[in-house]
């Protein structure tokens, strides 16, 4: 199954089919989520309208983790079965994931200033997400540090797998330590403890972010494949 999708030509065919669907689904759910989040949902009785920042902050943080998991999974596939396509997927995921992480950190700071009275605290959740951002940056830097792309891909893949230890720390940091950041209220045992009027726009926004991620990832991989093809053609022309 995996090996079927490792064929670049087949991958491109599927990507060409998926991209319009994921892009339009993301647009529709994003528009609905934004409308419900900004206008159609009640303000929080304690936080007032600042609670609406959550509709961007939480999906961005989820996607920051999901993107890293995708990157690590693709890296593992690349190391084990040596599919070059998996390398390209991992490489294309990194800048998107780094951006999601930055969005989560920035929106968190914007929310923290009115709610906690501070832009930043050194609690376990915030610190571990900051480490996630550094891991993404280090991963990207490692890709650019070698002249030989295969060597760069291997090194980056090993780093991505090492960084996986950070994911459970981020997820459970709010349970293991007494953090200022509130514990999970959607993905928890016993069902979400968030009101449906707020949960619906949140989930719609999460779907929009996921579709955006998939669309962008496929476009980036397509670009990487084209760049690789171009390099091969140029090399062939230089020789011939």
């Amino acid at each position: 199954m995996l090996h079927r999708f490792a064929n670049p030509a087949r991958f491109l065919r599927i990507a060409r089919w998926v991209v319009p669907w994921s892009a339009s689904l993301g647009l529709v759910s994003g528009a609905a989520g934004l409308y419900l989040g900004l206008a159609g949902s009640p303000a929080d009785y304690q936080q007032g309208d600042t609670v609406r920042i959550m509709y961007v902050h939480v999906p961005a943080a989820w996607m920051a983790l999901a993107a890293y998991a995708t990157m690590a999974l693709a890296s593992a596939v690349a190391l084990i079965w040596k599919h070059p396509l998996a390398d390209l997927i991992a490489k294309s995921t990194a800048p998107i994931g780094a951006t999601f992480t930055a969005i989560a950190l920035i929106t968190g700071a914007l929310w923290g200033q009115p709610t906690w009275g501070t832009w930043w605290v050194w609690d376990a959740r915030l610190t571990s997400v900051l480490i996630l951002l550094f891991l993404y940056v280090g991963y990207l830097a490692l890709w650019n540090a070698f002249d030989d792309p295969t060597r760069a891909a291997r090194a980056a893949a090993v780093l991505a797998l090492v960084g996986v230890v950070n994911l459970p720390i981020i997820k459970f940091s709010v349970d293991w330590w007494n953090t200022l950041h509130q514990p999970a209220s959607v993905l928890k045992i016993g069902g979400p403890t968030i009101h449906p009027a707020m949960l619906t726009p949140l989930l719609l926004m999460a779907l929009a972010f996921l579709c955006y991620f998939i669309t962008l990832l496929l476009l980036r991989v397509r670009g990487e494949l084209a760049a690789r093809k171009l390099r091969a053609l140029q090399a062939a022309r230089a020789e011939g």
């Binding site: 480490i131 830097a141 490692l142 060597r151 291997r154 090194a155 090993v158």
Partner: protein, 221 residues
């Protein structure tokens, strides 16, 4: 197991005969720490408050400084190829090199740290905790650093890159290492911190050598 000790002995002999290499890290640790009282002022209260954190940060940076040479010199003269092809499993070779690296750079720092702590006016109650925490944590620094050193073998600007890769992974060690001193000075005792530092060491000792060995094998392909 014979091969393991041969690699340890070889690296220690190299460290001793090349002179300076590992002593340099210790010197950096001492000199860097001495700069702080001159920079932030010699008030004993402030130094006592900041001392543990300063020592830990300097230890992290000093280990980082010495890591670049961990595999790079062997890579350049070709002996890394032989070490990896030798009958000893590559991850054990990495473990042996980490042990030698710790004996040459980490252990001297553990011995020096209490001395520097006294110069920084640290509460005597924290000295034992500092030494024990450093003893538990400096091998972890060598092991985690080995992953970064293996990944950057043959890279352009390897040293800067190594900093970027390794420092984020050092953060837990820094938090619990400095926390151990804090906790034993403040009263509640640092048993929990020591246990976490020990757990980090065990995790690093089992996971870091295979990861670094995989990175080395790819570097040599």
């Amino acid at each position: 197991m014979n091969g393991f000790w041969l690699v340890v002995g070889r690296d220690l002999a190299l460290a001793r005969r090349q002179g300076g290499e590992s002593g340099l890290a210790l010197l950096f640790f001492v000199l860097g720490t001495v700069l702080f009282p001159l920079g932030i002022g010699p008030e004993t209260q402030m130094l006592a408050r900041a001392g543990a954190g300063l020592l830990w940060i300097m230890a992290l940076l000093a280990v980082l400084l010495s890591l670049e040479r961990l595999f790079q010199t062997d890579f350049e003269d070709g002996s890394l190829d032989l070490l990896i092809m030798a009958p000893l499993a590559a991850s054990l070779t990495v473990l042996a090199k980490c042990l030698a690296h710790w004996l040459a750079t980490g252990l001297p720092m553990v011995v020096t740290a209490p001395l520097l702590a006294i110069m920084l006016a640290m509460d005597p109650a924290g000295l034992g905790a500092l030494t024990l925490a450093m003893l538990l944590a400096t091998p972890t620094l060598s092991l985690i650093g080995a992953i970064g050193a293996a990944l950057t073998v043959g890279a352009r600007r390897g040293g800067v890159l190594l900093t970027l890769l390794v420092l984020p992974l050092y953060i837990p060690v820094l938090i619990f290492g400095a926390g151990a001193v804090e906790a034993s000075v403040a009263g509640p005792g640092a048993k929990g911190h020591f246990m976490i530092l020990g757990a980090l060491l065990l995790m690093a000792a089992t996971l870091a050598p295979p990861a670094a060995a995989a990175a080395l094998r790819h570097a040599l392909e």
